[in-house]
Amino acid sequence: MSLDNLRIALQGLLANRLRSALTMLGILIGVGAVIVLVAVGNGSSIAVQSQIQGLGTNVLTVQTGGFGGFGGGGAGGGGRRNGTTSRSVTLTKADVTGLGNTTLVPDVKEVAPTVNASVTGTYDGTTYQPSQFVGTTANYAQIRNYEVASGSFFTDEDQAQHRKVVVLGTTVVSQLFGQGVNPIDRVVKFGSARFRVIGVFKPRGTNGVQDQDDIAMAPLAAVQDSLTGNSGTFQSITLEATSSKTTDAAQAEVLAVLGSNHKLSSAQASTTFRVLNQASLLQTSNASNRVFTVLLGAVAAISLLVGGIGVMNIMLVTVTERTREIGIRKAVGAKKGDILGQFLVEAVLLSLLGGVTGVVGGLIGSQFKIVGITPVVAPYSVGLAFGVAVLVGLFFGIYPANRAASMRPIDALRYE
């Protein structure tokens, strides 16, 4: 009997091909949307995670100035808090030395002070200003996972000798040299100083906010000599913790050292110095990405629900339209279960077919880049979308099917 049910239901669907196809389309779009949108959310979260991991999960960056709010930015008077004007506090050589002390800061492995310059580079009449010009120490590249594609990074020796050498990102290279020119050993004028190019970084792409290849790095000593002036202060200090698990401990140690160096209480230290912790950044972005994915999934789920209501709508129309048919079937001996089965199988078949095509469509759709994000299909979303589609068909099919099955044969036959 169940095989006959299936055949009767198939005949019913085929008798109304266009309508069946349109109903299926609703489910198809719902299921496809769930798969694609969850894949987009998933893909973007994986991309952001790998970018943050690329920056190094055990990296801490110390800057002065709290998290804004008080006095902030350009306000001339500055915010006087707890007897200390935060503007007057800067990172000094003593801080770098203190943070390098492994007894005070046992969880920090490497310390790299950095200064930033805003300077225009000139080569052969072409000028270009890199968005970042960083003066730092030789260990910085390794801390931040910068890799050199050609040439080499500068060394401690370059730093000690105050050599004016520079390593460029690919964006800067193409802006200054154009295509087909090997920049190694060529001399670029930054401001009034002449820097020799000794290396080019491997391309890193964008981190979503800025082009990471639009960068130039030179030894701290040379940058202070010729560009920023040797004030003995730094914009930031980049540190590498011994492992990604010790970043929180390292952060506390760093604040303690800076606090004692600048004679600040621990509360003052934590508002005066800003420590960026990549590991906690990763957690935050994971959390926000999860919200993003859930939101996308919810939008898609709504469209699946709408598709389900479409199934119910069509099944109700079908039942109404086929009331006489139901009457005939009952008159020749169809039992309630037979009619219920027929219309339920029709509804489930509709959503099953819609679900299968939706899964196929979703998997195909996930092969394409969407707004710059490579979707990564989450297997759970496929199973979930498909299962929900079938359940939706069953759920929204039950009411019309039950209505059809409960009709008395004589009423159904009289129906006009």
Binding site: D4, A331, V332, K335, I410
Partner: protein
């Protein structure tokens, strides 16, 4: 089974003081106002009467498509009032071949599939039901129209498909509500020949008609008026051999 006392053989149909009321209050219609009758196996009964006299109402009750408001209907000695929905479906399926005035074939479905339908619900295996459906289609002279849909058949052909569907399950009782109402005289003669042949095999035939020529071919004629039996006339004697359900 309830034995009907002192009457042998047991009538296949016993209707006792049956009424059927539609609507309520002002719109109340007494379609049947107390009908009692018994029909023996192998009889060929024509029910006549003016339009609105309650013929179809009675037929629907006889065919277990509807239940009486009051009174008793015993089919093969079993009170249908005591049967649940599933049992009623089984009775319709096994015992009764119902032919509707308006054919009532399933649209967009081939003639042969329509004929097979009752056997699908009876759980007859595919090969066997195809064979029996073919036989039924042959007996109504439509062996060449198996895969036509109802829309592709003439009115007379549709009516014959409906007859084929009613007889394919070998029911002991054929109920036909104005089976020739929509047919010309040639087509209606064909259908009547079929009924006569079925009756000659021993099946009980009850049909509704407005036409005297049709009624003349029946063994017994019952006339209704305003939901009551006006007269009940036997034209021919009952055949001695009858098929039991």
């Amino acid at each position: 089974m309830t034995e009907e006392p002192r009457r042998l053989p047991t009538p296949v149909i016993v209707v006792h003081q049956v009424t059927k009321t539609y609507g309520m209050g002002d719109t109340e219609v007494h379609a049947l106002a107390g009908v009692s009758l018994a029909i023996q196996r192998g009889d060929f009964v024509a029910i006549m009467g003016a339009s609105g006299s309650g013929k179809s109402t009675l037929m629907n009750i006889l065919g277990c498509l509807d239940l009486p408001s009051t009174g008793r209907y015993l089919l093969d000695g079993v009170d249908v009032q005591g049967l649940d929905e599933t049992q009623l479906a089984e009775v319709r399926n096994r015992k009764i071949g119902f032919i509707f005035q308006s054919f009532n074939l399933i649209p967009r479905t081939s003639a042969i599939a329509n004929v097979e339908l009752p056997m699908v619900y009876a759980g007859v295996k595919k090969a066997e039901r195809r064979e029996r459906a073919l036989l039924a289609m042959e007996s109504v002279g439509l062996a060449k129209r198996l895969n036509h849909t109802p829309a592709e058949l003439s009115g007379g052909q549709q009516q014959r498909v409906a007859v084929a569907r009613a007889i394919a399950t070998n029911p002991a009782m054929i109920l036909a509500d104005e089976p020739t109402g929509n047919l010309d005289s040639a087509a209606s003669a064909d259908v009547l020949d079929l009924f006569e042949a079925l009756n000659a095999e021993g099946r009980t035939v009850v049909l509704i008609t407005h036409e005297n020529e049709v009624a003349d071919r029946a063994k017994r004629v019952i006339r209704l008026r305003d939901g009551r039996i006006l007269e009940d006339v036997r034209n021919q004697p009952l055949a001695p051999t009858a098929i039991t359900a």
